[in-house]
């Protein structure tokens, strides 16, 4: 009986080790309800005033500035990795690039992906920065105004 109980314990431990090795960090969307846009909408304009002869000049770009304020209180006094995620969505492929004031890292990504913007200790309940976003979309997809959603997410370690 004692031997059987011990075997069960080691088996459970072994499973536990395997689980820990294969588990991915859990990603949690961060509350960014404190963020505010300086412009109400992103005006998309042709990247070049005129198209090219080869029809390659159909890109529209638009810029907006967001005062980002994310609530990282649940991870206070822990280390974390924060990503900016742009889900795949309508109207189609979207490219996003951004600059920051330094709290987060600048970067770029295509829809359907995410990019690391912060890695390190969480020392304050809220993290703030001013980000200037530039969206790029094929003009052929831009018949009308379209909402585009992105979010910050935390990988818990």
């Amino acid at each position: 009986m004692s031997t059987a109980r011990r075997a069960t314990f080691f088996l459970a431990l072994a499973f536990g080790i395997i689980w820990a090795a294969t588990a991915r960090a859990k990603s949690i969307t961060i509350d960014d309800s404190g963020s505010a846009a300086i412009e109400p909408s992103v005006l998309m304009r042709w990247k070049t005033a005129a198209p090219t002869r080869s029809a390659a000049g159909k890109l529209m770009v638009g810029t907006t500035t967001i005062r980002v304020r994310i609530n990282v209180m649940p991870w206070l006094k822990h280390s974390g990795r924060i990503y900016l995620a742009l889900p795949a969505q309508q109207p189609g492929p979207i490219n996003l690039s951004w600059t920051t004031q330094g709290r987060f890292m600048a970067g770029q990504l295509a829809s359907g992906n995410r990019v690391l913007v912060y890695a390190g200790p969480i020392t304050t309940p809220f993290m703030e920065d001013t980000l200037t976003f530039q969206f790029s979309v094929d003009g052929a997809l831009m018949r009308r105004a379209v909402p585009v959603t992105y979010h910050f997410e935390m990988d818990e370690e």
């Binding site: 042709w46 005129a50 198209p51 002869r53």
Partner: protein
């Protein structure tokens, strides 16, 4: 019974925590197309505001950041015939006073002046590809000399080309092909697919099969671009 209530209470608490976690929001930006539709047509000389010296050409163009502005110039295409050649059926090449030799897209030496007249433009619109914008010519019935003499406009034809245009690079056939003027009326002289730059160079010829009286004959053709 008490145990059961306690279980319900804990379940409720769990639901509240889940709701709080679910309040984490995503940010939504609304992408709004601004001034999405634009047309531009240039026959002969044009004017661009902004940086100059496009690709070292000394002129302005879109690729250097130039923006087109209205140009009221009416360029001419003309030919002078010696009396002995009038009506002999040998086509006479016409020349233009237009100085537009370089592409207004990238400054490339595209047309040869004074032999060729530049025509170019674009039709900008958002959304999927639409029907092409049409370019038409409104043509009088005849050239006149002011004293009753006329020459039919159908005596004037043109061919189309452009330096560097080949089937291999996709620039042939020309978007503004060759043709012959109608004797009064409106005719289509080309079309522009949405969101492409279009340009050609025209060589005009006088067919010289008529024998009009001596004089200077003139007529004005109006080119119009119409987008869907």
């Amino acid at each position: 019974m008490r145990c059961s209530l306690d279980w319900v209470h804990r379940a409720s608490l769990g639901a509240m925590l889940a709701a709080a976690s679910g309040s984490a929001s995503a940010y939504t930006a609304t992408l709004t197309p601004a001034s999405p539709k634009a047309v531009y047509l240039q026959v002969g000389n044009g004017t661009f505001a902004g940086p100059i010296n496009c690709l070292g050409s000394g002129s302005d163009c879109y690729s250097s950041g130039g923006t087109p502005v209205s140009n009221a110039t009416v360029n001419t295409v003309s030919v002078t015939l010696a009396a002995a050649t009038v009506g002999n059926g040998t086509a006479q090449a016409m020349t233009t006073n237009s100085t537009a030799a370089n592409s207004y897209w990238d400054g490339f030496a595209f047309c040869s002046v004074p032999a060729q007249l530049y025509i170019g433009g674009f039709y900008r619109t958002t959304g999927a590809a639409t029907a092409a914008a049409q370019v038409t010519a409104t043509v009088p019935a005849a050239l006149t000399n002011g004293s009753g003499g006329t020459i039919k406009f159908s005596q004037i034809t043109w061919t189309s080309s452009g330096n560097g245009d080949t089937a291999g690079n996709g620039f042939l056939p020309e978007v503004f092909p060759g043709g012959t003027f109608v004797n009064g009326g409106t005719q289509t002289v080309g079309s522009m697919a949405s969101n492409t730059w279009n340009e050609s160079c025209w060589n005009f010829s006088y067919l010289n099969t008529a024998v009009p009286g001596a004089g200077t004959y003139t007529g004005a053709v109006l080119y119009t671009m119409t987008s869907p």
